[in-house]
Amino acid sequence: MADMPETNVPTVSLGSIFLAFFKIGSFAFGGVYSMLAFFERELVEKRKWLTHEEYLESVAIGQMTPGPPIVNTGICIGYKLRRVGGALVTVAGQAFTGTVVAVLLAVFYVKTKDNLLLRSVMKGVGAAVVGLLLSIIYKMAIKTVTDYRAGFFTVSAFVALAAFKINPICLIIASGIIGYAVYAGKK
């Protein structure tokens, strides 16, 4: 059944897994790559909970499964260390600080929504968010749209949503099915 090799490290306690991921979730801001480097340093080099190869495998699994890749990498590492309990604890640790901060900000936001200064701040922020989105699109596009087939997927999805208002969930499922038909058997 389990075709994943067992790890040979001594059992790590759930509490220490939580703390490690709490630290990762609290102090590692920003991009995927800085987070992944942080993981490697904390878990492979400092704590020696898993080997470099096991770590790379977890990163690969994190990227090929639905959900945020970093969280998924953590789930995979937690699962290797302590099965489902370990997986749950990594998510709780990684999401803890962000969730608490987001809820505090939400409380503040709901209370001061009509404050003029906050409105001005959020105007600036809103414009920057659009710039951020565009830069994400740009970075994803130069990595993913490398041939006419990928370009076809991108353009059709855009037109289907922007002009025809087709539900994005249907579009994602449809592009998965068409993707299989187009790319299956090709490398």
Binding site: A102, V125, G126, L132, T154, A162, G176, G179
Partner: protein, 171 residues
């Protein structure tokens, strides 16, 4: 009932989110803003900004939206619903990794999805842009943010905070 529906949306959207937190945005915007009218485009943009400036994954924005809709219960259930599908799917994949890797079904489907998502995100960027870009100043902020994030290594978090500071003084 609305709370249950909210959780259910987060569960299936996260189960379909392949390749990063940003992929969930077109689906969430459609469901939360356009279909159910639980939040406005403006609030969606604010949530996205919060998700970006808080430490940890972008998914944290769902806690913000959950709080906005249903208070603290909404925030907690939002996080549980967002991560539940990930935990189930990833632990299953970790168990059967080698079989999963060999099966072309997943990798070839993902290639289609990853390319399509770029188009979906572009469409959402236009929708959100028409809400938040309202004059030459906001257009300027958007253009500069794009250029800095796309072509330098500056953390997006600082750009968003900086834009907020500029907003406080000039907008």
């Amino acid at each position: 009932m609305a709370l249950l529906q909210f959780c259910w949306i987060l569960i299936y959207v996260n189960a379909l989110t392949i390749g990063g937190g940003f992929v969930m945005l077109p689906m969430l915007q459609k469901e939360f803003v356009e279909k159910h009218h639980w939040i406005t485009n403006q609030e969606f943009i604010d949530a996205l900004a919060i998700g970006q400036v808080t430490p940890g994954p972008l998914t944290v924005m769902n806690a913000f939206i959950g709080y906005k809709i249903h208070g603290l219960t909404g925030a907690i259930l939002a996080m549980v619903s967002s991560y539940l599908p990930c935990i189930i799917i990833v632990t299953l994949v970790a168990r059967f990794y080698y079989k999963y890797k060999e099966s072309g079904i997943v990798s070839s489907s993902f290639r289609g999805i990853k390319a399509a998502v770029i188009g979906l995100l572009a469409s959402v960027a236009i929708t959100l842009g028409s809400t938040s870009i309202i004059d030459p100043k906001t257009l300027g902020i958007a253009v500069i943010s794009f250029a800095v994030i796309a072509f330098t290594k500056v953390e997006p978090t600082f750009i968003i905070i900086g834009a907020g500071v500029i907003g406080a003084f000039y907008l």
